[in-house]
Symmetry: C2
Subunit: 208 residues, 2 copies
């Protein structure tokens, strides 16, 4: 099994290779070129590529299409999976409106909220459904991923409902941790992580 | 200078230590306990702590308050800095509404948009200002950070305007890279990175 850090690096290679291949019709690329563009150690790049079955062709490097395919299959982007979103506020709306998730196999097929003013309205193309329809929808469509963009104080209660309905992964944007059974993955997103790099840079800046 | 990976780890330690200290009134903690909670190698934890001047007290570990303080100062969270936000749509609204940024020293003090329907309206407590006021506002308040939550096709043009106005860091939520001078930091956020871990987990899941 690959660790979270390896998976995140594979994703960064994948984004970089798909963008590079599309822009410049590049056929091969070396681990050195990837390492420089992504600020990753070149030995680490070769190790990660070997983990998905890619061996370099000496000085020429790697075949770009071959590398994209190997990463796609390893990460599971070649299969598509459906998701539901709970909490159609600001952040929920941005995720519903974002067109690029389908590149990674994910499609948001329904959105739920408990606010009477939102139910029945359209948010970024989805008609907001009431919470009583959540469990039957997940069971009927065999949904395995739920995206949680509700306030923090209701997130654990909602996670329990989602797990009971059969969900196997929760993409958690609320700032609190979630307790779930071992076969359910919680991926926590903390957008504020980026502030470490920003504050550190501005601190140095101020010094001049 | 600390690398981006070290800074991101320091931020994760900081969040963990502040949450732990607040919840359980814990006085000391060992690198092993931190490593287990955050899935980081314990030797790496000790190395990172040494980089901010923290030496463990043998079996007792580290003083929690002391560790928080050392990380705060290293990351620059002990100084506060103001930011402007450009693009008050879904994502911009979520960032304006998010109360926790002030814990890391950052306060969003103004929001700008070019949509006549949004200008003058209040979004998450901020009155949306027109774009012609962007440069004078940045110069007068000596703003050094701009948050970009506009569509991708206008982001480079806006980055140029922000740099010309004197901004030294751009927190970029648009899916395109930005070209800026060397003394300006661009921190790109790609929320979709989380899908690597999710798709990989669901791929395995499906196999059973
Ligand atoms: N990680 C970060 O850095 C970051 C950044 C921004 C926002 N957030 C978090 O994302 C979440 C959403 O933020 P937002 O600005 O979109 O908030 P919001 O208030 O705009 O949206 C929350 C939505 O959840 C709905 N809701 C509330 N209780 C519910 C329930 N019991 N069942 C179903 N729906 C319910 C509300 O009706 C609303 O539509 C919050 O937890 C916030 O802290 C995190
Ligand atoms: N990285 C990710 O995973 C991720 C996820 C969600 C959204 N996004 C990105 O975040 C950005 C915002 O997404 P959203 O859903 O909030 O979009 P949105 O359309 O709701 O908001 C965009 C805002 O920008 C404003 N705007 C457009 N052109 C402008 C200009 N020239 N000057 C000033 N303001 C201008 C619009 O009026 C609107 O208010 C997009 O680039 C989107 O791709 C990224």
């Amino acid at each position: 099994r690959l660790s979270r850090l390896v998976l995140e690096r594979l994703m960064r290679y994948y984004r970089f290779l798909t963008e590079t291949a599309a822009k410049e019709a590049v056929e091969t690329i070396t681990s050195g070129e990837i390492a420089e563009a992504l600020e990753i150690d070149p030995t680490q790049v070769r190790k990660d590529f070997a983990a998905v079955g890619l061996i370099g062709m000496g000085r020429v490097g790697f075949d770009v299409c071959e590398a994209c395919r190997a990463i796609r299959v390893t990460l599971g982007f070649n299969r598509s999976y459906e998701a539901v979103l709970v909490g159609t506020g600001h952040l929920g709306g941005a995720l519903l409106a974002y067109p690029n998730f389908v590149r990674y196999g994910m499609r948001i097929v329904a959105a739920f909220d408990n606010d009477k003013q939102k139910i029945g309205q359209t948010v970024a193309g989805q008609i907001v459904k009431p919470m009583r329809m959540l469990k039957p929808f997940i069971k009927r469509r065999k949904i395995r991923l739920a995206i949680l963009t509700t306030p923090a104080h209701v997130s654990q209660m909602l996670a329990d409902r989602l797990v009971a309905a059969g969900v196997k992964a929760i993409w958690n944007f609320t700032p609190t941790g979630l307790a779930v059974p071992p076969d359910v993955l919680v991926r926590n997103e903390h957008i504020s992580i980026g502030l470490a790099e920003i504050a550190y840079h501005l601190k140095d800046q101020a010094a001049c």
